[in-house]
Subunit: 302 residues, 2 copies
């Protein structure tokens, strides 16, 4: 089965204490598509400007990502500039240039519209709903979001949450959205807002998965060096989506748990270099090796 | 086999946003002994004043904790008053009355000195070394510490670390001690300071275990309500120590991993009420049930 990933494709400039990199391939859909492509055919839906470098498009093609749903319009590609604090757990946005993203009017090819797993990666709830309205195959729908949309587009985000099978959010945003400091309670409150499942991403501390009747929690793959955590959450969601699409049956709770581990392992690669560099070089064998290593370092009993 | 637990026995006053409780049984050795007693015979070594309530001594006896190594001297028992911030992850000390703790000169009975597992719960490195010097059975030695001793008694703490099999510390203190924000690197740096193993406690996010050749990571048991986290770390260390003493063979890495899960599960009970109340009421069946539940909510694959 295939995955449809819709979200932003961007050119990122990233500042850490150690390095500055400009105009890297970024955006929620770039990371998520590259991650989903480890397990499944991927349709990438996004908008870019005429300045979008051919080499990035070539990278998607090399990783077997269908780019027929990338709309290229006159103007500049969406750009984001961010700076990480020393501990790499917090960042601030230095600059955002929306440019062509304002004109985004997603239009799906029939093949993309028929995807059985749909990842609505981080972008405005309006755009997420516009994509969802075009889907034809009653897909399993995953949606990611961020503090910006919770603050400025809450009603539309709540509309979206009614329609998703799995809502993904990071821990700070989960606390903010639910006004609750306890993350387990926050996850349950998000579940009560409509989605069939909720994942709370905790970065270096792993992730938690909630359904009305089940719960799963996992630590993160242990990294000693984080060069750039940008896109780790998008990679996580993309890896999860790809993992679900690789299975012939409708996702059950244990498939979601396995997908979370897979997404978490892929996210660890993303953190090891700036932008998509490390993820785009990662082989399936490397990912499988790290999953086996993760199994060994989380096992207990007997 | 038996466990020797040495540390503080205190009367705690605890303030949270919701409640204030005064003169509760507290101290590192109280929580740790109650936790260790789930799996093993325990010798508790500490000092108290003549004001120490008989009911607390009765509680130790009821949980089969040997109190022959509790020294009772003229004066007031050590008291600590602390206040938790709203998120329950940070606290400040409002008042400390050392009193009889200043006179602590640990003297072990031959039975306590012959324990095969020794937990040097949080107290001054001088007192921890004084206990260790009296041990006669080449025990497996666990030591806990805190920011105070890192700041005011670092050379003695470093002496101690050369002599312990497992050094336990919380995440903020690990970062402070090693001046490193990455917790995996911080754990490895602590290992390089001498102990054969290191555990970094991450509270609601679980714990990590390091040895030169192995690594283990686990999330925490998911709690929706934390009434009072005081003593959770001491409970964790005590549960781990008791678990190791329950085994007939010398601890291997997988025994430490299992002990960490057991300690983590017991710590979850401690958090559910003020002081030792919930832990002291917990049955072995409840602990086993929660361990099975934890297994279910951390399992993935196949």
């Amino acid at each position: 089965m295939s995955v449809l990933v819709a979200g932003s494709v961007a050119l990122d400039s990233i500042h850490t204490n150690a390095e500055i990199h400009n105009d890297l391939l970024g955006g929620s859909a770039s990371y998520a598509s590259l991650a989903a492509a480890f397990s499944s055919k991927v349709h990438l839906c996004a908008i870019v400007g005429t300045d979008f470098p051919a080499e990035h498009r070539d990278l998607f093609a090399r990783r077997s990502i269908c780019t027929a749903n990338i709309d290229t319009v006159e103007g500049r590609t969406f750009r984001w500039t961010g700076k990480y604090h020393e501990d790499m757990n917090h960042r601030e946005t230095l600059d955002v240039s929306i440019d062509v993203l304002e004109k985004f009017n997603p239009r799906l090819t029939p093949e993309a519209a028929a995807a059985r797993v749909v990842l609505l990666a981080n972008m405005s709830p309006d755009n997420q709903l516009a994509v969802l309205d075009q889907c034809t195959a009653q897909p399993f729908v995953i949606a990611d979001s961020m503090d910006l949309w919770i603050n400025i587009a809450r009603p539309r985000l709540l509309d979206l949450m009614q329609r998703v099978d799995l809502f993904v959010i990071n821990e700070d945003e989960a606390r903010m959205f639910t006004e609750c400091s306890n993350l387990v309670t926050a996850g349950r409150r998000l579940l009560a807002m409509g989605p069939r499942h909720v994942v709370v991403k905790k970065g270096e501390h792993g992730a938690m998965l909630f359904s009305p009747s089940h719960f799963f929690t996992t630590p993160a793959y242990p990294l000693t060096h984080v060069a750039d955590p940008t896109g780790a959450g998008d990679t996580f969601a993309g890896g999860l989506a790809g993992s679900l699409a690789a299975s012939p049956h409708a996702p059950e709770f244990k498939d979601l748990a396995n997908g979370i581990v897979h997404g978490s392992v892929l996210a660890s690669f993303t953190c090891e270099a700036f932008g998509v560099k490390r993820l785009a070089e990662t082989t399936s064998a490397e990912a499988a090796g790290r999953t086996a290593e993760f199994r060994a370092c989380t096992s207990w009993g007997s």
